[in-house]
């Protein structure tokens, strides 16, 4: 264990990480946001979506530091229903992150599998998969997500939809992001499969599936990790966009995007804090994750070192 730790702190990656203050800051911000949001049941001052705890008399309180009308029990103010904005953001961020991570996992799973198959076997399978990928690329991610969401809505009832909204949106975003993984993995696999260590495994007579999983996959994780990090930011934004458009998560289970939408509806009346604070949180989270992804891409690229 100590040896492992030593190898890590001695590695070029760690060194490159340490010498980039921006990356360190981005990492701190990312992990802070993740930690706080996942601990929201413990840390949050209110449980904003439990109707029993709400009181309309607390409605539309401005943030404490801005106005003397503020109330320290609601540091960032409340919305028209009297829900605490800070707590809403904490719960909402948790939901956004869950959707982000889950859809990245879905996209990775589909993309890596298709990429491996495509790159390793080549020929007709490869041609078919890559043409599907080309077609997929002509539709913007939002459109694909809208399409899937639309289909699901026509098939099942509204009530049922609210229950499975999370899965629908994860699936929709996952399905629209797999192409990048598939292409990258395919490219790396085509390089790796001609290397002699893969041939050595073939001489032993290992079945292709084992060779792909044991030998090829571990050697293509670098680029996949980079895409995954950058995609996490994209997925969170996509979810926010969908929720803002009203086709994402329902108001009973608001993510950051839903919060921004709800705030946007009352923005005209001057209650800006309801939409601005979730917006700032979303921006900070996505920026931090993207900075992390940028650094990772450079750090894992030997040509830029």
């Amino acid at each position: 264990m100590a040896g492992w730790l030593h190898r890590f702190t001695d590695s070029d990656i760690w060194w490159s990480f340490k010498s980039s203050p921006m990356t360190v800051a981005a990492t701190v911000v990312t992990f802070l946001i993740i930690a706080i949001s996942f601990l929201s049941p413990i840390l949050a001052p209110h449980t904003p979506f439990d109707p029993a705890t709400l009181s309309l008399s607390d409605g539309l309180k401005p943030p404490v530091l801005i106005s003397s009308d503020g109330d320290w029990t609601f540091p960032l103010g409340t919305d028209d229903q009297g829900r605490d904005i800070l707590s809403s953001i904490m719960y909402g961020t948790r939901l956004s992150l869950v959707v982000g991570f889950a859809s990245v996992v879905v996209a990775m799973f589909i993309g890596i599998t298709l990429g491996l198959v495509s790159g390793y076997f080549g020929g007709t399978i490869d041609a078919v998969i890559m043409r599907i990928a080309d077609v997929q690329l002509t539709f913007p991610a939002i459109l694909v997500a809208l399409l899937i969401d639309g289909i699901v809505r026509t098939v099942i009832s509204v009530k049922r939809h609210d229950e499975i909204a999370l899965f629908v949106i994860v699936g929709a975003i996952g399905l629209s992001f797999w192409v990048q993984y598939a292409r990258t993995v395919r490219g790396s696999v085509m390089v790796e499969k001609n290397k002699e260590y893969v041939q050595a495994a073939r001489v032993i007579g290992l079945p292709p599936v084992l060779i792909m999983v044991r030998h090829v996959l571990p050697n293509v994780t670098g680029p996949v990790l980079v895409i995954a990090t950058i995609n996490l930011g994209l997925a969170i934004i996509t979810e926010a966009t969908l929720s803002f458009l009203g086709v994402g998560l329902p108001s009973t289970e608001p993510s950051l995007g839903t919060l921004i939408r709800l705030g946007n509806e009352v923005l005209q009346s001057g209650d800006w804090w309801i939409t601005v604070f979730p917006g700032v949180t979303l921006a900070a989270l996505v920026l931090a994750v993207n900075l992390l992804g940028d650094w990772l891409r450079d750090a894992l690229n030997p040509k830029l070192r």
């Binding site: 290397k195 002699e196 260590y197 041939q199 050595a200 495994a201 073939r202 001489v203 032993i204 007579g205 290992l206 030998h215 571990p218 050697n219």
Partner: protein, 347 residues
């Protein structure tokens, strides 16, 4: 060979492998280009006896590496037969029987930096064939086997815990050899195993290979472009040119009494390290593209002895002095066999 039975250990018969390197059909259709087929291996017959080292030499693109890959089954042949200890490799057989055959032949690769999975520990790299063929049941036995293999290639069992990047090129090639030996094979195909190494390390690896061959009664198919190395290690040598075998002979015969004009040309390219002032005739021309090989004898455009027959008729392999040679000039007696000597200088 025991009891003089006619069956050779490894036998390649009329082995062919063509590669389609045509552009996609749409491009062909638009630009009106024909299909392009590389005849990488075009009818090769080789017999390798148990315990010997058979070397294939030739310049890049002559198909020697393709032969190596065909033999271990990395590609299926386009045509021809591969027989291993009396078993036709193309025959369909059960998974267990296939594994039993595969276990007995392994391969050593050229590039010690590409032939070991960089993410695996050396122990797991060497243990992989043992696990794949189910040669070891329990962990203690596996550890003992891997430790023994590492010692056999003059590394230590403790090296198993390291990753490939912690080793030098020569040490990596030892690991590669240990992996090849892990399934206790009888036949090793060695594809340029020393050409990526520095000379002083090359000597270590060649010595190791000779030692292992003697100790484990291995049979080698040795692929190389380095004639001095081939001279040192081989029992018999086959010279390849554009996918065909032009000459096969016992090593000493090939180097002292070369017959095919291409063999002679290759021997002329060996640098004169002993500074004996050995006569070297200049060599002209380059290897033509294997996509459109010359008609008849494919060496005829570079051959000083070529006549009309050489341009039109492909020469057959004729038995001569314990080997074979495919050359009309030799067959017709137009080209006398020449004697060469190499002063055994003390270095």
């Amino acid at each position: 060979m025991p009891d003089g039975s006619p069956r050779e250990f490894v036998r390649l018969e009329g082995l062919k492998r063509y590669f389609d390197v045509s552009p996609p059909w749409l491009v062909r259709a638009i630009e009106g280009r024909p299909r392009q087929i590389v005849q990488a291996v075009d009818g090769v017959d080789i017999e390798i006896a148990k315990g010997e080292t058979f070397s294939l030499v030739g310049e890049s693109g002559c198909g020697k590496s393709t032969v190596a890959r065909l033999v271990v089954g990395l590609f299926p042949p386009t045509d021809g037969r591969i027989e291993f200890d009396g078993n036709d490799m193309a025959q369909r057989r059960s998974g267990a029987d296939t594994a039993a055959l595969r276990r007995r032949m392994q391969m050593i690769f050229q590039d010690p930096y590409a032939s070991l999975n960089p993410r695996w520990r050396v122990f797991d790299i060497i243990a992989e064939p043992i696990r794949a063929f189910g040669l070891s049941s329990d962990k203690a036995d596996l550890e003992k086997r891997v430790g023994d293999l590492l010692r056999q290639v003059r590394l230590t069992p403790a090296d198993g815990r390291k990753y490939p990047h912690e080793f030098s090129g020569g040490q990596r090639q030892r690991i590669s050899i240990a992996r090849a030996l892990a399934s206790e094979p009888e036949f090793l195909v060695c594809d340029e195993p020393t050409s990526a190494l520095d000379v002083s390390v090359q000597a270590q690896i060649l010595n190791l290979m000779v030692d292992l061959q003697r100790r484990l009664q291995l049979t080698y198919l040795f692929i190389s472009h380095n004639l001095a190395v081939v001279y040192h290690i081989s029992t018999r040598v086959g010279v390849m040119y554009l996918g065909r075998l032009v000459e096969v002979a016992p090593t000493e015969t090939l180097f002292t009494r070369p017959k095919h004009p291409y063999t002679r040309m290759l021997l002329d390219t060996i640098p004169d390290l002993d500074m004996t002032g050995r006569q070297r005739s200049p060599v002209g021309g380059e290897v033509p593209s294997p996509i459109n090989p010359p008609s008849g004898c494919s060496f005829h455009p570079r051959c000083p002895y070529a006549n009309d027959r050489c341009k039109s008729e492909r020469p057959k392999a004729l038995p001569i002095e314990g080997g074979t040679v495919a050359c009309h000039a030799i067959e017709e007696g137009r080209l006398p066999v020449e004697e060469r000597s190499y002063a055994a200088a003390a270095r």
